[in-house]
């Protein structure tokens, strides 16, 4: 497919898009805290691939390459607009008007979203790749172009920061989780 895309085969490229667009979009969405520019950034990463597919030498490296390019673009975009709308997450996440137990659930979601959004960008990227995209530490390290030790360190710091941000709600959240499970 990669070779076909290199030959301007739009159908093959569409296949690549259908396979990788969702994870790239999700990662960018988290990096940009649900910013409305998420689609632009994800699109830009794929356009870069389309413009220069020869950059990828092995098909198995494609997802990692896309993730790296997209995360770099997202970080660049955030740095240009440092006050990206973190508060917009709740709005994006919860467009429905609901009441009762759902409201409480949404409050938990909002607090978790807020805690993730508050992470420094590299910790957020590490947490996103490993916990949300299910990548191994090795793959995530490759995406971030750092060592496995470095990503483990980022994950440790990220988790610690998340625990601290959620400390006030910790017991409540655990209770809610356990009641949900029950």
């Amino acid at each position: 497919m990669l070779l076909a895309s290199a030959r301007r085969d739009a159908a093959a490229f569409a296949e690549l898009v259908s396979r990788y667009y969702k994870p790239v979009y999700r990662m960018v969405w988290r990096m940009m805290n649900g910013n409305a520019e998420t689609e632009d950034v994800a699109q830009e990463a794929f356009v870069k691939l389309w413009q220069n597919p020869a950059q990828i030498r092995e098909a198995k490296a494609l997802k990692g390459w896309l993730m790296r390019v997209a995360s770099n673009l997202a970080i660049d975009r955030l740095r240009r607009k440092p006050h990206a709308d973190i508060d917009a997450i709740a709005e994006v996440a919860d467009p429905r008007q609901v009441t009762g137990a759902e409201l409480e659930e949404q409050a938990v979601t909002a607090r978790v979203n807020q805690a993730i959004a508050s992470l420094p960008e590299r910790q957020k990227l590490a947490v996103t790749l490993v916990y949300f995209e299910g990548m191994s530490n090795i793959s995530a390290a490759s995406v971030m172009d750092i060592s496995v030790d470095a990503i483990e360190s980022l994950l440790t710091r990220g988790k610690r920061a998340l625990r601290e941000s959620l400390a006030e709600d910790w017991r409540g959240l655990l209770d809610e989780l356990s009641s949900k499970a029950g």
Binding site: A10, Y25, Y131
Partner: protein, 116 residues
Amino acid sequence: MEKYDETQMDAALEKLLKCATEPSVPEGAEARLMLAIQSVEQRLNVVPFRPHPRIQSWTIGLPLAAALALGVYLGSKDTFDAYLPEAITDGMADMSDSMPSTGLDDAESYAEGDVT
């Protein structure tokens, strides 16, 4: 929170992270991307190789070899001087030493015992 160990905290955190919003791709996003690439030129990383017109090596080598042979031949003949300007040939004649150098006269100054 102190009653939880590290593993339990991690497990709890993972559960909490599952509560985070799962972003969904906006409808038509992939189609918009495919439209976008249609207006973008694809750049090739590889510069097309255009071979230079082939020059037979003998077409250069043969004249050079002939010129060299002619030079050697003319140089070995005294008659070649007749083809050169007088300014050069006269100068060369002046520079030539009428007394052949044997090197024996100079040898004395380098003799052992006369090094001071």
